[in-house]
């Protein structure tokens, strides 16, 4: 989207549900165990915010993503109410991708049906590992069998576009185990697999206390194995950590990497709106009090200059296997990326970390492994 163009653009919506049954040991995200009353107050506030935001923003919605936390800890009634408000307040494009994150053990048959009826057409299930020892170590509340049951509910409710999240480079994990994990997951009726290497965040219990992590060379190999195994099973990598069957990349996520505007609703949700990035407050009492007036929720506002936006286009776009489209960059900023980034492009092309093709700039396989180092250099 050309820099600064504000009107007539489709945008995305992210809705945050900051509750789960129990926080995982590696999680440093905004979520907390839910109590019935608190959940009720939050959903009321969220609906107020949805309605208020809908009045303020015209335009079409190309995708919706409900994430958490664990959105499926909400009751069927709550889930339905949220989607009712959403449909009433925003103009969703026909065929818009609508995803809900669900954790095994919380997706009942009833909830799956309710979501389907609410217009949800994609589910993202947090599996992380097929091995119980890994799930226990991570503090997950479910087993692989729980996942299979949830998947079954999803399919019975009519879902055909389903993602599973996996994690590798787990403490104590071997290459062989990861290979098993991939093969068993890829054999399931899924359209999409996300495979993230575990990042131990400070301030998490796992950071403070965990078995030894696999050596770096193993982690490197596991990443390569992921691509080999999944592509053999019919999944194509389209982003650093994401693999999809033909035609099923997550459109919502692609939007993030291509700087499609998005509106974040709910506690602590991030937005990119009119070349400004901001976040809703992370303070629950303040959210509950001000939800009907979304402007009051906005924090950490950062207006993006053209240079900021260009930097973002590069470091976000390079996450995609396809890379950054030179034509799109030229169209958005009126200048070719080779002009601005000539020395960096030269340096990394020569060292075999960057592909400078006719239409796109992308990371090589070698480059993906050290993507941070390269992306940092594209910041203007």
């Amino acid at each position: 989207m050309p820099y600064g163009q504000l009107k007539d653009t489709a945008f995305e919506i992210y809705i945050h549900i900051p509750f789960c049954i129990k926080k995982c040991l590696y999680c440093d995200f905004l979520s907390a165990p839910a109590s019935g009353e608190a959940v009720g107050r939050y959903v009321d506030a969220l609906i107020k915010e949805i309605k208020a935001a809908g009045k303020q923003s015209g335009g079409r919605v190309s995708s919706v993503f409900v994430g958490g936390g664990t959105p499926t800890v909400l009751s069927e009634a709550h889930l339905t109410a949220i989607f009712d408000a959403l449909h009433a307040s925003f103009r969703l494009e026909e065929g818009a991708e609508i995803t809900v994150e669900a954790n095994p053990g919380t997706l009942t048959a009833g909830k799956a049906r309710a979501l389907k009826e609410a217009g949800v057409n994609r589910l993202s299930l947090g599996l992380q590992s097929v091995f119980l020892k890994d799930l226990r170590m991570l503090g997950r509340i479910h087993t692989f069998e729980d996942f299979l049951i949830s998947l079954d509910h999803a399919q019975n409710a009519g879902f055909r576009n389903i993602n599973a999240d996996l994690m590798f480079a787990l403490p104590g994990q071997t290459r062989k185990e990861w290979e098993q994990c991939l093969l068993r997951t890829a054999a399931l009726p899924l359209t999409h697999i996300s495979a993230y290497s575990l990042i131990l965040e400070e301030n998490t219990p796992l950071y403070r206390n965990h078995p030894p992590l696999p050596p770096e060379d193993d982690e490197y190999a596991m990443y390569e194995d992921t691509n080999d195994i999944l592509s053999a099973c019919g999944f194509t990598q389209y982003e650093i950590s994401n693999y999809a069957r033909n035609g099923f990349p997550c459109r919502h996520n692609l939007g993030y990497w291509k700087r499609v505007p998005y509106l974040g609703l709910g506690l602590g949700a991030s937005s990119l709106w009119q070349e400004t990035r901001y976040k809703n407050t992370s303070d629950m009492p303040s959210y509950l009090e001000n939800a009907q007036a979304p402007l009051r929720l906005q924090q950490e506002k950062e207006y993006l200059t053209r240079r900021d936006a260009m930097s973002e286009s590069m470091f976000l776009g390079l996450r995609l296997t396809q890379g950054v489209s030179k034509k799109a960059f030229q169209k958005d900023y009126g200048i070719a990326p080779e002009v601005i980034y000539a020395p960096i492009i030269k340096k990394y092309t020569e060292t075999g970390l960057l592909n400078n093709q006719e239409t796109h700039l992308s990371l090589t396989r070698k480059g993906i492994h050290v993507s941070n180092t390269i992306m940092a250099e594209f910041l203007l």
Partner: protein
């Protein structure tokens, strides 16, 4: 005119932390020049840095009025002296401006190497010294033991020594009375030709250089045409005065026996060298006061701005510091690795550290410092001798006949239980044992001749750590000696990093090279390719390490589109890169240049 018999010019000598500054504060307080409210904690140490380090860098003076028990009023000129071996010469000139000295000894710790050195310096300058036992309020105080020690070791009478607590103010009057009784009044003829000793000078942006002096003979007043006998500089006096606490108080004239200051629109402290004699240009004295010498830097290092764009700021800051510090030397130099900077000369390591800290703190500069070096004398085959201050400038080995390095005479005072480990340390550092004396049953004074270059690395730290902090050191330069010296170069990714080259004793080269490589391996972050780090003498590689190539550096999930968080991480990474120096293809953190200064850690 002030009655000479009512003047007392004295200083306080003490080991670091034995309470010199606190006693000075009490003296100022008890003489009633200031109310308690006006008292800063330590008036003489008015530089912030000095206070934090607990030492005095620049000597200063204060004039107070004391009404003695005999009913008479006395003028006390208390001259403060720096307490570190780096400033030995300044100490000796400050002492020369006095007629007597108070020796402060800590009642718990007793005499230290520095104490002895300063007492001998005072006795050399014919000062009358009387001891004061401080910190008698400490539970560990052993005044009797310390008194015996003073009598045995220094040989001055100490039974009458006031036993005080400068901290609480206990028995300070006894000290003041003893100043009157035991320190002689100055002598000198006010009508003789002017003869004044410069013991310090500071630069003031309004008055120019303010010269601190002690008048030995004659009188000086506004309009006197003065001449500095060593530098030959002449000027007309604009103002004379004495030292209030923290301020300059102008007066009519200064005459023989008095301590005060003069200004004469002097632009540069280099014209008013400490130790020089001020005389009347029109009526000069017959000969200058003895003891003047031009102090030369002993230790050199390169100072570079971390941000190359601040080269001009660094130059301005050095210029300003030099206004007040004639012993600071600097000249521009260029390094392939570090860009534009300065080769700076210092009196010693402490002086170096102080200047470095002042540049960083007062001038807000981020600095990269190269390894300190002494001055080597390089005798070339063509008969030429060069003073080498920067290892990079070492001529080709084929042109070198031989090299000499500076040697110091060191005295180390240590409790007997650590004698063995300190001797071992000195041996490791190529020390030549000169003897040992027992000061008392439990303490000994070790005498060594040591190469200065072995002292400037981390000798102090090693000394402290091997004696649990109890050893103290004093040293003075004792000439040059021929030595087997080599230049050790460090190659990063096959490229020589000039800023890391240094001169080292041939026998220690391998050890030092290996440690350098190990340290650099830890300091240089992994990059996209493997980086060999090598230590070399000439073309011969003597040690090597490898920084493995970076394999993994990926940020995973962007939770719920929180791009800002990811961007911040990337920005941090980019910031880190900015603090790197590019040498060939390799980025070397500035920290790495400094880390090699302390190789013997842990």
């Amino acid at each position: 005119m002030t009655d000479q018999s009512k003047i007392r010019n004295f200083c306080i000598i003490a080991h670091i932390d034995h309470g010199k500054s606190t006693l000075a504060d009490r003296i100022i307080e008890k003489t009633g020049l200031l109310t308690e409210r006006e008292m800063q904690d330590q008036i003489l140490d008015n530089m912030e840095l000095e206070r934090e380090r607990g030492i005095t860098i620049k000597s200063q003076a204060v004039r107070v009025v004391y009404k003695a028990r005999n009913g008479e009023e006395y003028i006390f000129n208390l001259i403060d002296t720096p307490g570190h071996v780096d400033f030995n010469y300044e100490v000796s000139r400050s002492l020369a401006a006095c007629d007597g000295a108070i020796l402060v000894v800590d009642a718990a710790q007793g005499i230290e190497a520095q104490t002895l050195a300063n007492v001998y310096l005072a006795l050399d300058n014919d000062l009358d010294v009387f001891p004061v036992i401080n910190k008698i309020d400490l539970p560990s105080a052993q005044p009797e033991r310390v008194i015996n020690e003073i009598e045995d070791i220094i040989g001055i009478e100490a039974q009458d020594a006031p036993r005080i607590s400068a901290k609480t103010g206990l028995n300070i009057e006894d000290v003041l009375e003893q100043v009157v009784e035991r320190i002689p009044a100055p002598k000198g003829d006010p009508k003789a030709p002017l003869k004044a000793l410069i013991f310090d000078s500071v630069y003031d942006s309004y008055k120019g250089v303010i010269v601190f002096c002690r008048l030995m003979d004659g009188t000086v007043r506004k309009g006197t045409n003065i001449k500095m006998m060593a530098t030959g500089f002449t000027a007309e006096v604009v103002e004379v005065g004495y030292f209030g606490a923290g301020q300059f108080i102008p007066c009519e004239e200064l005459s023989a026996g008095m301590v005060g200051y003069l200004t004469a629109s002097i632009k540069n402290v280099r014209d008013t060298r400490v130790g020089d004699t001020v005389t009347d240009k029109n009526r000069p004295c017959a000969e200058a006061l003895p003891g003047y010498k031009k102090v030369n830097p002993m230790v050199y290092c390169g100072l570079y701005p971390a941000d190359g764009a601040r080269y001009g700021d660094l130059r301005d800051a050095l210029e300003k510091l030099q206004l007040n510090d004639a012993s600071l030397f600097y000249e521009p130099e260029t390094s392939v690795a570090l860009g534009f900077g300065f080769r700076c000369g210092f009196l010693g390591l402490l002086h170096l550290e102080i200047i470095q800290e002042r540049l960083e703190r007062e001038y807000n500069l981020d600095l990269v410092t190269t390894a300190p070096s002494v001055i080597y004398k390089v005798h070339k085959t063509n008969g030429e001798v060069i003073d080498l201050t920067n290892p990079t400038n070492l001529p080709d080995p084929s042109e070198i006949e031989y090299m000499e390095e500076p040697i110091v005479k060191a005295e180390i005072m240590v409790t007997t239980e650590f004698v063995g480990s300190i001797m071992e340390l000195c041996q490791e550092r190529r020390g030549q044992y000169q003897g040992m004396e027992y000061m008392e049953e439990t303490r000994a004074m070790l005498r060594y001749r040591l190469p200065l270059n072995e002292i400037i690395y981390d000798f102090f730290d090693a000394l402290k750590s091997r004696s649990r902090g109890y050893a103290s050191l004093d040293y003075e330069l004792d000439g040059y000696e021929r030595s087997d010296l080599v230049k050790l170069d460090i190659l990063v990714n096959k490229e020589e990093v000039d800023a890391l080259s240094f001169i080292v004793f041939g026998g220690s080269a391998y050890e030092r090279g290996r440690k350098m490589c190990e340290k650099l391996k830890d300091e240089i972050p992994r990059q996209m390719f493997e980086i060999p780090i090598q230590a070399a003498i000439g073309s011969k590689i003597i040690a090597r390490e490898t920084v493995k190539a970076l394999r993994k550096d990926v940020l995973a999930k962007c939770y719920g589109g929180d791009i800002s968080r990811k961007k911040k991480l990337l920005e941090k990474q980019k910031e880190g890169k900015k603090r790197m120096r590019q040498v060939g293809n390799v980025e070397i953190p500035q920290k790495a240049f400094m880390s090699v200064l302390k190789l013997d850690e842990n």
